[in-house]
């Protein structure tokens, strides 16, 4: 029996965790971002129609043109598996486009009634359909080419924008016969231990930090937390007879600020946040996005005025 590489890989992952990032954190939303896509039914049943909605933000306030396409039966669950199917469809000029156009930031996805029939019984635990979304801050064209990203995004001047300037993403729909998964519920957000109502704009001081280091912000930082309803952590036996217990995480984003932790487990959600002095005189937004590990997602946001 051979040796496993897993220990070395695990140590490598832990090393990354312990050592910290060397780039600006992904929590800083200073360019076009689509932060989340939610399905009203993370588990889709054959014959259902699933509604997908998105959370996007463009600091430049540009109008976005969208496209939504399906990869109904990808070979695997990775992002590249879905794009491989998109590529094959596009090359044949038959990309299954669900919706497209300016401002189309949501879509209804009909799930074929026979979609599960094509999947052998032994493979149904991983059965899923994928939906590709593209958000373009300009004009979006769908191409019939042999490419994993068969879309072209051009700005107002007709210049083609690259992959980094438009947002391409994949949302999975877990296919199930009967099982249901709820999206998590965020009960409230706390600020320094007190409930932070959604309509309240806090007044905060800005912190001078070029390295996004919370240790530079001893006076300006605040303790924040997204409180997830405990019932959101579902557990039990799935439709395949397997025990499950969901893991929930909270991701943090802001238009200008620094977090102690970019991600927290929902059971222990407190972290520290400080607005940056570069946002002085403006209002910053803080997003809290909660994911369960079975495709469920919810979000909320709060605002703060930086003195």
């Amino acid at each position: 029996m051979n040796r496993s590489l897993t220990p070395a890989l695990l140590l490598g992952a832990l090393a990354l965790t312990a050592c910290g990032a060397t780039f600006d954190p992904g929590t800083q939303v200073d360019s076009l971002r689509v932060l989340a896509v939610r399905a009203d039914q993370p588990f889709a049943h054959p014959g259902d129609t699933v509604h997908l909605s998105s959370l996007s933000y463009d600091p430049q306030g540009r109008p976005l043109e969208w496209a939504w396409a399906a990869c109904p039966s990808p070979a695997g669950s990775s992002v590249e598996d879905c794009l491989d199917q998109v590529r094959a469809s596009a090359a044949g000029g038959e990309l299954p486009l669900l919706a497209s156009g300016p401002g189309v930031d949501s879509v209804d996805v009909p799930v074929p009634a026979d979609l599960l029939d094509a999947i052998p019984v032994q493979g149904r635990e991983q059965a899923l359909a994928g939906v590709v979304s593209v958000a373009c801050p300009g004009t979006l064209d769908v191409l019939s080419v042999d490419s994993r990203i068969p879309f072209r995004c051009t700005d107002a001047d007709g210049n083609e924008l690259g992959l980094h300037d438009m947002i391409v993403g994949i949302k999975r729909l877990f296919l199930r016969e009967t099982e249901v998964n709820q999206n998590p519920v965020i009960d409230n957000v706390t600020f320094d231990g007190e409930v932070w109502p959604a309509d309240e704009v806090k007044e905060v001081d800005g912190c001078v930090t070029d390295d996004f280091d919370i240790d530079d912000c001893e006076l300006e930082r605040h303790e924040i937390a997204a409180i997830v309803n405990p019932a959101s952590t579902e557990s039990g036996v799935d439709e395949f007879g397997r025990d499950f217990h969901e893991e929930l995480i909270v991701q943090h984003f802001t238009t200008d600020g620094v977090f102690e932790d970019e991600v927290r487990i929902a059971d222990d959600p407190e972290t520290k946040w400080a607005a940056r002095a570069s946002a002085s005189g403006t209002t910053v937004t803080v997003w809290f996005i909660v994911h369960d590990d079975r495709g469920g997602v919810s979000w909320t946001s709060r605002r703060a005025q930086v003195r």
Partner: protein, 802 residues
């Protein structure tokens, strides 16, 4: 290992009265007659009993100039290997008198000449103890030669008592075998004295990335090569994947490394073989050692129990947890068990008869860490929550070595053991438990001067119990193809038994002096896939002496089947229709002695790989992955080794490999670089004994950067909430920058009357080169930076030895 032994006692000079020992004194007496004729002629050779070698030309050792001022006396015990002509082919120190005296003794020993040992009329190689005594007083000494005594004539009714170990020169059964000595293993700079890491300095062995301790031989995947400890395959070679080997160097006798074309006694492998031999416990007195360095501490005790039994007990514990634990806590990690490793060894040897020795060897290793990451990894939230890593194994090995006669030897080994691997990351987990039984029986018969036969059985069996809960992933690379969080998981369990019996036979044919032909065959059965394989192999070594220096031509060709991994064939993880992978090895080379300790070896190699197992995602399997024998591979290149053997103050070598390794996942695809391809591998190292217990060494390495697959951008994975990389196609189309590094090591030893104290400083990456180990990316893969490896790293160690 596979010696012809006529008697069982080694190191005779330490147990017998000094008058029977071969000794040579430098004393302040008047010059005496050299080589006084023995009082009686040696008895006529008895065809059934060995005649020991007889000293016919003595040599005076030169008293070291560096010691004259001190006037020290010293005794240096040696073991001499004699060839069939009575020349000393090798000498090693068994009782040190200090580096300067040792060097003088070794230099003189090699010029001694003996009448060779004989069995009947046939001259045979031998191994004998020998001793030089150095003593200085004014006037300058003149040597007194003490001739070896004649062998005693057996009195009626008594046993012959001359204790000499006569060793049939073990004919190499492979064209290429590289052997590292204890001194080389423990003193190579940059390896911290780690035996298995010292292999990375040999030609044909690639440098693994970063902390990874994988063995990459002639462009093969690490899974294609195997490590054996005294014939037992070892499931884990390194603690935590690369920190330090699981068996400390102090308990090793030798490491035999076969980069390819190895004999049929090794099977189920298509890459290279590392066969580690354990030292037997010392026989003469109780001794031990205690060592501490930055990473771990180790203890070893060994010695005799009576005249026929010997024991060894050793153990090691890391203290990485002592400093890594606080670092992790500072980083916000809750630590239940900081990373810690243990390993332990215990051995008992007993001479049942003068022809049979039993050895019981118990060894094992255990690595563990347990953390709570309340702040999961921002790039993949699956790396969070409860984190558990526990890997370990244990083996109990019983072996019996029986020498029926000088021509017939039978070795049997049985080992049982338990392996465990538990990995947990939040809700994801793998859990593997294996009980392993390994049986080996090896019979060697010298049929005539021209032909020897060797054959045996090699059976592996056991039970397994495996459960995992993970998204489908490429097990070899550990690649999930993006973040694992939010992906459907497979939950698979299997338990059962496995059986892999094998049998082999090999002939050693010596049609001409120095020419050895090694035809052999091995057959294996793999029950997982119900497949029989047959591996014919042919090796050749031709030693000849156009001058006083040896020239060797060597070559080989052979078939090597490697069974698919259990997860590739056993349901529900794999596909039982998957067959064994196949490799054809071709090699041709020459070794040339340039001077007595200096040898040059050049070897070309080619490997043709077929039936390689390729994984593809699949919705038709429970595991989400399907396997098929679609892949092909090829590796070719040349290895150069200029080696100065450790026979005096200096050892070292320059090793260079030029290599190319390619793969394709289907017959109609183009060749691409294999992920372990390294075009140029250069290592130059040396170590020199300065005298007065000081030794200094350096190692320089230059290695072509490893292939990697750049990411050309990112695609949002909305279930993980992070970007997944979009990889450039085809894979491994780019290379990291070349790696180079200088390591320096200095040792100081103090010899006291009954013990020894050593300290060493091993400075790795002495000129602080910023080597690139990987490419790191920002959150959306729009920016990248080179991730640097370890900076300059000094490691200080201290050891006390009885």
């Amino acid at each position: 290992m596979r010696h012809l032994r006529l008697t069982t006692l080694a190191c005779a000079s330490l147990l017998l009265p000094s008058s029977l020992a071969f000794a040579q004194n430098a004393e302040t007496t008047a010059p005496a007659e050299p080589n006084p004729a023995p009082a009686t002629e040696p008895p006529a050779p008895d065809a059934s009993r060995p005649t020991p070698p007889r000293l016919i030309e003595s040599i005076e050792p030169v008293y070291p100039e560096s010691q004259r001022a001190s006037g020290h006396s010293a005794r240096v015990g040696l073991t001499l290997k004699l060839d069939e002509t009575g020349n000393v082919s090798d000498a090693s120190v068994t009782e040190s008198g200090g580096p300067d005296f040792d060097a003088a003794a070794l230099e003189a020993a090699r010029r001694l000449r003996f009448e060779p040992a004989r069995v009947g009329d046939r001259a045979i190689p031998a191994k004998i103890p020998f001793r030089f005594d150095f003593q200085l007083a004014a006037p300058p000494p003149a040597p007194v030669v003490v001739a070896p005594p004649p062998p005693p004539v057996a009195a009626p009714g008594s046993e012959a008592t001359l204790d000499v170990e006569v060793e049939g020169d073990r004919p190499p059964r492979e064209p290429t075998k590289r052997v590292l000595s204890q001194e080389e293993i423990t003193k190579i700079p940059g390896t911290n004295g780690d035996a298995l890491k010292s292999l990375q300095n040999l030609p044909g062995v690639a440098r693994p990335p970063g902390l990874d301790g994988s063995l990459i031989v002639r462009g093969s995947s690490p899974r294609d090569s195997d490590v054996f400890i005294d014939g037992t395959e070892v499931p884990l070679v390194y603690h935590f994947g690369g920190l330090s080997s699981v068996v400390p160097s102090e308990v090793l006798d030798r490491i035999d490394f076969y980069p390819g074309n190895f004999g049929p006694e090794y099977g189920r492998i298509s890459g290279g073989v590392v066969d580690v031999g354990m030292k037997g416990p010392q026989k003469d007195h109780i001794g031990g050692l205690l060592q501490f360095d930055l990473i771990d501490g180790r203890v070893l005790v060994q010695g005799p129990i009576g005249s026929k039994t010997r024991f060894m007990l050793g153990g090691r514990r890391s203290w990485v947890d002592a400093w890594l634990g606080p670092v992790l806590r500072e980083g916000g990690v809750q630590v239940s068990t900081a990373p810690v490793y243990y390993d332990a060894q215990a051995m008992v040897e007993h001479d049942v008869t003068k022809d049979t020795t039993l050895r019981l060897f118990v060894f094992g290793s255990d690595d563990k860490l347990k953390l709570l990451l309340s702040s999961p990894d921002a790039s993949d939230p699956a790396n969070g929550g409860d984190v558990l890593l526990h890997t370990g194994f244990s083996r109990v090995q019983l072996s019996a070595d029986t020498r029926f006669s000088p021509e017939l030897r039978w070795r049997n080994m049985v080992s049982v053991g338990h392996d465990v691997e538990q990995v947990g990351l939040g809700n994801l987990a793998t859990n593997t438990r294996i009980n392993a039984l390994n049986l080996r029986s090896d019979l060697r018969a010298q049929l005539s001067d021209v032909v020897a036969l060797n054959g045996g059985l090699d059976i592996q069996t056991g039970t397994y119990d495996v459960a995992w809960r993970v998204p489908p992933f490429d097990i070899d690379s550990g690649d999930f193809g993006g973040p694992a969080f939010g992906r459907p998981v497979t939950e698979l369990k299997a338990d059962g038994t496995w059986l892999r019996p094998g049998a082999y036979a090999q002939a050693e044919i010596t049609p001409l002096p120095g020419l050895k032909l090694l035809p052999g065959v091995r057959t294996d059965y793999v029950r997982d896939s119900s497949q029989w394989t047959v591996d014919p192999r042919l090796g050749l070594r031709w030693d000849f002496y156009p001058s006083s220096l040896r020239t060797t031509l060597k070559g080989g060709i052979g078939v090597f089947h490697k069974p698919a991994e259990p997860y590739e064939t056993i349901r529900p993880f794999g596909n039982p229709d998957v067959r064994s992978e196949r490799a054809l090895h071709y090699s041709l080379g020459v070794e040339q002695e340039l001077a007595r300790p200096l040898e040059l070896s050049i070897e070309g190699f080619y490997k043709d790989l077929s039936n390689l197992v390729v994984s593809t995602p699949s919705t038709a399997t429970e595991s989400g992955v399907d396997y098929a024998n679609l892949g092909k591979g090829r590796t070719y290149g040349a290895e150069f080794l200029l080696r100065f053997k450790p026979e005096g103050r200096f050892f070292g070598w320059v090793a260079y490999t030029l290599s190319r390794s390619e793969r394709k996942d289907a017959a109609n695809e183009a060749w691409r670089l294999f992920e372990y391809d390294q075009t140029h591998m250069l290592t130059a190292l040396g170590s020199y004994k300065l005298g007065r217990g000081w030794q200094m060494g350096a190692r320089f390495r230059y290695v072509t950067g490893s292939p990697y697959t750049p990411n050309i951008g990112g695609v949002m994975d909305y279930d993980a909430g992070v970007y997944a990389p979009l990889q450039q196609q085809p894979e491994y189309g780019s290379r990291l920058p070349a790696f180079s590094q200088l390591d320096v090591r200095i040792d100081k030893t103090w010899d006291f009357e009954s013990w020894k104290l050593s300290m060493y400083l091993d400075v790795q990456n002495a000129y602080n080169r910023k080597n690139t180990e990987d490419i790191s990316y920002n959150y959306d893969f729009s920016q990248h930076k080179q991730a640097q490896g370890l900076p300059i790293l000094p490691v200080l160690g201290i050891r006390g030895e009885l």
